[in-house]
């Protein structure tokens, strides 16, 4: 600093020297992360295991049918006994809102928990690199040695095995994804007999190639350059957000071990770079928070093990907030943080909306459309006739017999649908109905009347729809 002040014209090239080790890996060099055990490694396995639901889910049965099925051709979502039709799709919107806000809420409290422990990109990459490190060496040095080794039967068979395993996982991922949208067992059968639909093959192809390329080759590049969430995180953090962070005050100035012991004139960091070696995205946490950090905590495990070995207290790298690191202050209580409160409020609204939706899920959907071309017609005996389209959707699993009636308008009679109508499950039957009323019974040009749809076989199901009746002025 003092040197720079002395110099009247500082050399601009110093800027380059300062960042000479600033390194952007745009996929040119492969990150080989050393795998170490520890608390956060265990947590990561735990988080990853959530994805077992994805693999098991489609095979669960309920009442002889697939328990959870996104039935796109029939435009319905089956969940156990419940069938959700497009009319109830707002519940899906609220569910998505819930998870989107949950992501924001968790991020504002504890950083990119989703990225580090649950994201499919992280999880699949971790499984793929697990296979790779087992076969080709689990440190960058061993991996380099393997890469530079002359071709041998062992090397070729290891590489082949790696890609075979990768493709097998990718294929399984593809089939599993497709299985959520069609009968899972039938799908396997169709794939093996080569009779699956074109859509199924396309889904399988896209997910297999996608998984293979994204988890096998692009890895952290996806987090760096493709994922929008990685770039959004900055606005979700605040000074109370806890993140894996390097305690620079304690660690700096860093210095290597002297004669096998920590250099007492330096900070706690012995500059062993193990935290960098274990990082799945290849960043150096000691440079502070950065977009490449998926907050998986692998560097915490690594640093703690080094601290143990050098007889220093753990926590040089730890989950800590900005306040904790720079002001030695405890993070504010959750209920005092506006961000957390607002997110919780939205979460509650979304959740109660979905709860309300499920509680009031109706078995039918009844709508009456008053025809406007023409709004009314005068008949030869002078009576006024209005025309309606009645639409009844059967959301149950059994056919229902429906009989229609009207009420609420004196003297009005219903014509055109005298007999009851059978409506198959999941189907809508639009019917034309005519309502007539003698003109002396009609007092104003606009009256109200109620259409009633009674289910003959189930007297407890009776739905109403209020509509209008129009006449001459």
């Amino acid at each position: 600093m003092s040197e720079q002040l002395k110099s009247a014209e500082p050399n601009i090239n110093d800027i380059y020297d300062e960042v000479s080790d600033w390194h952007v890996n745009a996929g040119g060099s492969k990150v080989v992360a050393k795998r170490m055990s520890g608390r956060f490694r265990r947590l990561k396995w735990f988080g990853m295991s959530v994805w077992l639901i994805f693999f098991i889910g489609p095979y669960l049965r309920w009442d002889g049918k697939q328990a959870i099925l996104f039935d796109i051709p029939n435009r319905q979502f089956n969940f156990l006994d419940i069938t959700i039709f497009p009319q109830d799709i707002w519940m899906l919107s609220l569910t998505l809102l819930f998870f989107a806000i949950l992501l924001a809420a968790v991020t504002s409290i504890a950083g990119r928990v989703f990225c580090g422990y649950f994201c499919f990109q992280t999880v699949w990459t971790d499984v793929f690199t697990f296979i790779e490190t087992r076969l080709e060496g689990d440190t960058p040095q061993k991996a380099m040695k393997f890469k530079n080794a002359p071709l041998s039967v062992s090397k070729i068979s290891r590489i082949t095995l790696k890609h075979t395993l990768w493709l097998a996982i990718a294929l399984l991922t593809g089939v599993t994804f497709a299985a959520w949208f069609t009968d899972a067992y039938q799908l396997w059968h169709d794939f093996f007999t080569l009779q699956a639909s074109l859509a199924a093959w396309i889904v399988l192809g896209m997910f297999t190639v996608g998984t293979y390329v994204f988890a096998g080759f692009m890895r952290e590049q996806v987090c760096f350059w493709l994922c929008p969430y990685a770039r959004l995180q900055g606005v979700m953090y605040d000074q109370d957000t806890v993140l894996p962070a390097y305690d620079a005050e304690r660690g700096e100035p860093r210095g290597k071990l002297k004669k096998g012991a920590v250099d007492s004139s330096k900070g706690s960091c012995i500059d062993c770079k193990v935290c960098v070696a274990v990082c799945p995205t290849g960043i150096d946490i000691r440079k502070g928070q950065q977009e490449g950090c998926i907050t998986c905590g692998m560097c915490i495990d690594a640093c703690d093990s080094i601290m143990d070995k050098t007889n220093q207290p753990r926590g040089l790298i730890r989950y800590a907030s900005y306040k904790d690191l720079h002001h030695n202050a405890a993070p504010a209580a959750l209920y005092k943080r506006p961000r957390v409160l607002i997110y919780s409020f939205i979460l509650m609204i979304a959740l109660s909306g979905v709860g309300y939706g499920f509680a009031t899920l109706s078995t039918t959907e009844f709508q009456v459309i008053h025809n406007r071309q023409p709004v009314f017609v005068q008949l030869s005996d002078g009576s006024i006739q209005n025309r309606y389209t009645l639409k009844m959707l059967n959301k149950t699993h059994e056919a229902m017999e429906v009989k229609y009636a009207i009420s609420g308008l004196d003297g009005a009679t219903l014509h055109g649908i005298d007999e009851s109508v059978i409506i198959e499950p999941g189907k809508v039957i639009p019917l034309q109905a005519l309502v007539r009323i003698p003109d002396d019974k009609l007092n104003t040009e606009l009256e109200h009347l109620t259409f009633i749809a009674n289910v003959v076989s189930k007297p407890d199901i009776s739905v109403q729809y209020e509509s209008i009746f129009m006449g001459p002025k």
Partner: protein, 310 residues
């Protein structure tokens, strides 16, 4: 990239230098280059597979032989294939039988909406209610000039209709016309007087409109005893109809009421069948068929249900 060095100190350059700024030769990232070449390859493949080069006599056809019109035709074929079972059944059944079959009736009504819009709505209006004052008959009410059974509607559609009423401007005195206008207005409410009825009979109105003034469907004459008006219920308009008639020759102010024939061949056949004759003897060879028999059948069903049917 290994060869992608951000530090310009030890970076190769082109040798060009302006004011101390050197032009470096850092290559773009390899994935980017690969993507560029792949997209170029895609263009080439597309070029070969699809119509591309416009030449003097037309464009290159492409290996796939794809055209927009063919894609449209293929889609139409799919729709036709879905409709075929219904259409075949409607073709094989009589209109009355279709009316009895709920599913088929729904199909016929649903699929005739476009047919009606294309061919009928221009005059009769969407929903069978023409523009007020336009003089076209309302199809959405229960008053049928030529009969409202589905068979009669088929006949009307097939052979077309022409209204006829002589102009009375020179046949009646002004006072008589006034009285007849009053008769028509009153009779619509069932309040016509003896004297008015007498005039109605004397002046020959009865010949076409019938002894009860309810019209005669064989002639297509209007029912004067109900609340539905063929043209208008306003006294001035009624007077106009009486004075100038309908389709009356040599009266430029006469009302026009013409419905074109939509399938003359069918009309001829129906007539022959009515007399128990062989239609082949009736055909003159120049009968037009603007709509097919099945289309007429579907339209008749559609029109039949508009006002609730007869």
């Amino acid at each position: 990239m290994a060869d992608n060095n951000k530090n310009p100190h030890d970076c190769p350059d082109t040798g060009h230098e302006w004011d101390g700024i050197r032009e470096l030769t850092n290559p773009p990232p390899r994935w980017w280059t690969i993507a560029l070449y792949l997209s170029g390859l895609l263009v080439l493949v597309y070029f070969i597979l699809y119509p591309s080069l416009p030449l003097v006599t037309g464009n290159t056809k492409g290996v796939l032989g794809w055209t927009q019109i063919n894609e449209y035709k293929e889609d139409m074929e799919k729709i036709e294939a879905k409709r075929a079972p219904f259409e075949d059944r409607i073709e094989a059944m009589s209109a009355a039988e279709v009316l009895e079959d709920d599913e088929l009736l729904r199909y016929a009504v649903g699929s005739s909406k476009v047919l009606y819009g294309d061919n009928c709505a221009a005059c009769h209006g969407v929903g069978g209610y023409p523009q007020p004052g336009s003089g076209y008959p309302i199809l959405a009410d229960d008053d049928w000039l030529y009969g409202g059974t589905v068979e009669k509607i088929i006949e009307t559609l097939a052979k077309g209709r022409q209204g006829m009423m002589p102009a009375h401007a020179e046949l009646l005195s002004e006072a008589e016309v006034d009285e007849l206008v009053q008769f028509v207005v009153n009779n619509s409410n069932g309040e016509a007087t003896e004297a008015q009825w007498k005039l109605y009979n004397e002046k020959g109105c009865v010949a076409c409109h019938g002894a009860d003034a309810k019209g005669i469907q064989q002639l297509g004459s209007a029912n004067l005893a109900d609340k539905v008006w063929r043209f208008s219920g306003e006294p001035d308009e009624i007077r106009h109809t009486i004075l100038h008639g309908v389709n009356a020759a040599n009266d430029p102010q006469t009302r026009i009421a013409v419905m074109p024939a939509w399938n003359e061949k069918l009309a001829v056949r129906l007539e022959a069948e009515e007399y128990g004759d062989d239609p082949e003897e009736y055909y003159e060879g120049d009968e037009t068929e603007r709509l097919s028999e099945t289309e007429i059948k579907k339209l008749a069903i559609y029109v039949h249900q508009l006002g609730g049917g007869e």
